[in-house]
Amino acid sequence: MSIKSNKKYKSDNPEDIFDPDSDNAIVIKDLVKNFDDVIAVNGLNLEIKKGELFGLLGPNGAGKTTIINILSGLLVPTEGTAFVGGYDVRKNLNKVKKLIGVCPQEAAVFKFLTGRENIELFGHLHEVPKSEIKERVTNLLKLVNFTEASKRKAKGYSGGMLRQLNLLIALISDPKIAFLDEPTVGMDPRARRKTWEFIGSLKDQNKTVILTTHYIEEAEALSDRVGIIDYGELIALGSPKELMEKHESKNLEEVFLKITGRRILEGI
């Protein structure tokens, strides 16, 4: 089963079909990504609203990270396209990059720099005005109680601390759209809860957040809507409540297991 777009486009020219005044922050249209013989994303159609916290769920290798990599310009689609903030990722990548903040799955930080220096560096790369960087970093660090740790080199950080730094780097540019690819993996339960609060607070700032996670309860607690991906296809879409009702489940984890498990049984 694959859920197709809830809105059909008429034009074949992607530049004609996206309305910049639309409520959508992201529009994905007929997106396909192949790696040799492997189909990582298979005809995906999806719209994510401005200010929405969208949870992207799926088993390992379902295509979540590939989707994020295409939306952030790291991969070129095989077919179809996506619009981020109104800009086509195939044609206006530089404009897309000015709108987004990306928290990659692996903590990508310079180990010889301190936490603060890492965030400041990415602030410069994101063209944050020089006069604002220090204040922004200070505020971010305070939000997650990372001020003291940020004075030390990242080389000595624990896995959880690297994750926190990874997330803060993604947010230094105050991005309109944030891609958070499994941001809480490796964090202890207390740090994870704190990070959930932090991610939840991004919604109050009217940011659009695309969150991939293996912690289903994380997606359930934070997401306005959830999309479940399997074999590169969107197989379920809706608010956690809607999905639970539709699949007669007590929680989102049950929904996830029912849907993805059924596909395994059906041999899809």
């Binding site: 310009g73 990059k97 990306v102 990659p104 010889f112 990415f122 410069h124 790369l125 063209e127």
Partner: protein
């Protein structure tokens, strides 16, 4: 080109040099130690080899190790996902490569100061004037350009930082033997003519013997090393952009 981004990257790369003991040793302490060792070992008039004839080669020798540090740095950044992460920012590849070129030119200048200062301390006396000293800077900066290019080519073909270290010696060893402080024979001269460091050592030898910029061999060498440097760095950037950033 955004100056703020380039300066931030240069600052980061120089911090990498200062804070990583292996880089600090290779780029700054190693040339210093080598100059001191050679100064004491070959300053004996009874030996056929004179320390003063080796000093120009020591400059070039220090600079060719930039190949290794650049290759390691790019391979590490690729392995740790940092290149990908930087690619999600509005940073352009020109700003990124430009910052590497600038920071390594800066390192080459520091190497000149260290090697020259220690060589003078150990008795080396240049016959050239102050302009010769600045000319030496220019040649070293151009050599650092070709070293950055060769470092990028090394990083492109290396799968890991460890492999980058080993593969970098393909470019380091020939330059070391045929274009630095080793005595050049008529046979090795032919090989040396294919290597950037040969032209730098040859020019620095003339400069320290009192040659000026207006002399033909200096001008020819300057033109050759400039062309080699630009071509290698362009090849390095193109190869790394196409195949190395994966």
């Amino acid at each position: 080109m955004n100056v703020q981004k380039i300066l931030a990257l240069v600052k980061m790369e120089l911090k990498n040099l200062i804070r990583e003991p292996a880089n600090l040793f290779l780029m700054l302490l190693f040339p210093a130690v080598l100059t001191i060792v050679f100064g004491f070992a070959f300053n004996d008039p009874e030996l056929d080899m004179e320390f003063s004839s080796m000093v120009p080669g020591l400059f070039a020798y220090a600079c060719i190790f930039i190949i290794m540090t650049i290759a390691q740095s790019f391979a590490t950044e690729r392995e740790e996902g940092l290149l990908k992460r930087m690619n999600t920012t509005p940073m352009t590849s020109g700003e990124f490569m430009g910052s590497h070129i600038i920071s390594n030119m800066f390192i080459a200048v520091i190497q000149v100061i260290i090697v020259y200062g220690l060589a003078v301390f150990l008795g080396f006396r240049s016959q050239g004037d102050v302009s010769g000293f600045f000319l030496a800077f220019l040649f070293m900066i151009l050599l650092s350009l070709s070293s950055v290019g060769l470092g990028l080519i090394t990083a492109t073909v290396s799968k890991s930082p460890g492999a980058a270290t080993g593969i970098s010696f393909i470019f380091i060893l020939p330059q070391m033997f045929f274009g630095t402080f080793m005595p050049i024979t008529s046979n090795t001269r032919i090989i040396g003519m294919f290597l950037p460091s040969f032209y730098v050592t040859d020019s620095l030898t003339s400069i320290f013997e009192g040659a000026s910029l207006t002399e033909a061999n200096i001008l020819i060498n300057l033109a050759i090393i400039s062309i080699i440097g630009v071509i290698i760095v362009i090849i390095g950037i193109q190869l790394f952009k196409k195949f190395g950033n994966r």
